[in-house]
C-alpha cells in the first residue's frame, strides 16, 4: 500500500509536497538492551532516534539503528516479510512482528518501546532462547502419523475436511502467542498456545491417525487444562489465528473422548 499525504490546506503550491511523496519523521525507539559479556548481567533501556519514512516498519527503523548507529544491537530477522516468524518482539507492550508493525500505526510522537518476548530466557538484546518453546512443539509430534501401506498417490481429502483445520495451518512458530500467555510466564511448564495450535492442525486432519496420542499428550496437567482463556494469544497472533478457539476445540475433543 502506498501512503498518500494530502497537501496541508493552507500551503502555497510551491511548498506543497510532491504528489505521492512519502513523508518522513523522526522516531525514537526505546530498546531493552542486554549483553552479559560487555554490560554485565543487568538489562537497561537505550533510546535511539532515527529518521523514518511514513511507509517504514519497526524493522526498518531497527535496521537503520543497526546499520548506521550501533552495530551491536542484536535481533533476529530473516525474511522480513512476516512469514519466517523470526522477529517477534514486544513492541509498546504488545507482541508483534517487527516486520509487520508500521511505525505510523504506533504513534511515532512518543518513544516506541521494544523488548524481547517474555517468558523465555534472553540471550542478548532481543534474542531469546527459543529452545523451551520448540521442546513443547516437538512433544506434540508435529508430523503426519498414519498406518498401513503408503498410498501410491495423494492422500485425498475433501474441501470441507481441509477447511476443518485450515486456521491452525497458518502458524509460523514466531512464539508471539506462547510468550504473551500469563500461564506460560509463571513457570514455563505449560505447553503454551503454539504447541496446542500445531497439535490441533493434526488432530483435526482427516488423514492423520495420531489424534488419540496427541490428545493424550495434551491431557497432561501442564496441557490444555491450564488455559485460562485470557485471549492474549489470539490477540498476539500476527497471522490472525483464533488460538483460544483452537485450544477450546482440543479441550472439547478430549471431553467427548472421555465421556
Amino acid at each position: 500500500m502506498t501512503a498518500v499525504v494530502d497537501a496541508p490546506s493552507g500551503a502555497s503550491p510551491e511548498t506543497a509536497p510532491e504528489v505521492g511523496a512519502v513523508p518522513t519523521f523522526d522516531v525514537t525507539l526505546r530498546i531493552r538492551r542486554y549483553n552479559p559479556e560487555v554490560a554485565g548481567d543487568e538489562a537497561y533501556w537505550e533510546e535511539f532516534t532515527v529518521t523514518a519514512h511514513g511507509t517504514d516498519r519497526v524493522l526498518d527503523a531497527m535496521h537503520k539503528i543497526k546499520w548506521e548507529l550501533d552495530g551491536s544491537l542484536t535481533f533476529r530477522r530473516s525474511c522480513a516479510h512476516g512469514i519466517c516468524g523470526s522477529d517477534a518482539m514486544r513492541i509498546n507492550g504488545r507482541n508483534r512482528l517487527a516486520c509487520k508493525a508500521l511505525l505510523k500505526d504506533l504513534n511515532p510522537d512518543k518513544p516506541i518501546t521494544i523488548e524481547p518476548i517474555k517468558g523465555l530466557p534472553v540471550e542478548k538484546d532481543l534474542v531469546v532462547d527459543m529452545e523451551p518453546f520448540f521442546a513443547s512443539y516437538r512433544e506434540i509430534m508435529p508430523f503426519l502419523i498414519t498406518s498401513g501401506n503408503e498410498p501410491s498417490k495423494e492422500r485425498l481429502q475433501s474441501a470441507e475436511q481441509r477447511e476443518r483445520y485450515d486456521d491452525t495451518t497458518k502458524c509460523i512458530l514466531c512464539a508471539a502467542c506462547t510468550s504473551s500467555c500469563p500461564v506460560f510466564w509463571t513457570d514455563g511448564q505449560y505447553f503454551g498456545p503454539a504447541a496446542i495450535v500445531n497439535a490441533h492442525r493434526f488432530i483435526f486432519d482427516s488423514r492423520d491417525e495420531g489424534g488419540t496420542q496427541r490428545l493424550e499428550i495434551l491431557n497432561d496437567k501442564e496441557g490444555v487444562w491450564r488455559c485460562r482463556t485470557t485471549f492474549n494469544c489470539t490477540e498476539a497472533c500476527p497471522r490472525g489465528i483464533e488460538v483460544t478457539k483452537a485450544i477450546q476445540e482440543v479441550k472439547r475433543a478430549m471431553i467427548t473422548r472421555a465421556f
Binding site: 526505546r30 531493552r32 542486554y34 552479559p36 548481567d41 543487568e42 538489562a43 537497561y44 533501556w45 537505550e46 533510546e47 535511539f48 532516534t49 548507529l69 550501533d70 524481547p116 530466557p121 534472553v122 523451551p132 521442546a135 512433544e139 500469563p182 500461564v183 509463571t186 513457570d187 514455563g188 511448564q189 493424550e216 499428550i217 491431557n219 497432561d220 496437567k221 501442564e222 496441557g223 487444562w225 491450564r226 485460562r228 479441550k251 478430549m254 471431553i255 472421555a258 465421556f259
Partner: protein
C-alpha cells in the same frame, strides 16, 4: 544520539527458572476437574439463588430469620440435603479454583506447597464442621425459652 537509561530496579533478564520437568502427569484428573467446575457452577447457581429466595424473599423475608427459622429448615431432609449439597459443591468448586490460581501465580515450589496446604486445611475444617452441624443440629435444645424455638418444639 544514543543515550543510556539505567533504572535501578530492572531485574536481570536471565532470571533463573526451573528446568522443564515433565514427568508423565497424563491422568484425567485435570479433565474431570475442568468438567466439575462447569457442572458445579451451573448447579450452584440454582442452589444459591434458591437458598436466597427461600431465606430473603418468601413470606416475611429477611425479618423471619432467627433460630427458629433455621431450626425449622434443618429439621426437613430437603433443606438438609440442599444445604449439604451447597456446602460441598461450593467448597470443592472454590478450593479447586483457588488451587489453579495458586498454580498459576506461585512460582516457587515451596510457596506453592505452603499455600496449598493452608488451602486444603481450610477446606477440610470448613467441610467437616459444616457437615457435622447440618447432621447433628438440634432444633429444640432443652431449657431454651419456648418463644425462640420452632413451633414444633414441645417442651
Amino acid at each position: 544520539m544514543a543515550q543510556t537509561v539505567t533504572p535501578s530496579a530492572l531485574e536481570a533478564p536471565r532470571s533463573p527458572r526451573s528446568p522443564r520437568s515433565r514427568r508423565s502427569t497424563r491422568t484425567n484428573y485435570e479433565l474431570y476437574g475442568w468438567v466439575f467446575m462447569r457442572a458445579s457452577g451451573a448447579l450452584l447457581l440454582v442452589l444459591i439463588f434458591g437458598h436466597l429466595f427461600m431465606n430473603l424473599w418468601v413470606g416475611e423475608g429477611i425479618n423471619a430469620i432467627d433460630f427458629a427459622f433455621v431450626g425449622g429448615k434443618w429439621s426437613s431432609p430437603l433443606w438438609q440435603t440442599w444445604d449439604l449439597l451447597m456446602l460441598w459443591l461450593a467448597m470443592i468448586h472454590g478450593t479447586n479454583g483457588v488451587r489453579t490460581i495458586i498454580n498459576d501465580y506461585a512460582e516457587r515450589d515451596a510457596t506453592r506447597i505452603v499455600l496449598k496446604s493452608a488451602l486444603y486445611l481450610a477446606f477440610v475444617v470448613t467441610v467437616v464442621l459444616g457437615t457435622l452441624v447440618i447432621f447433628t443440629f438440634d432444633p429444640c435444645p432443652p431449657n431454651a425459652p419456648a418463644e425462640l424455638l420452632a413451633s414444633f418444639c414441645t417442651a
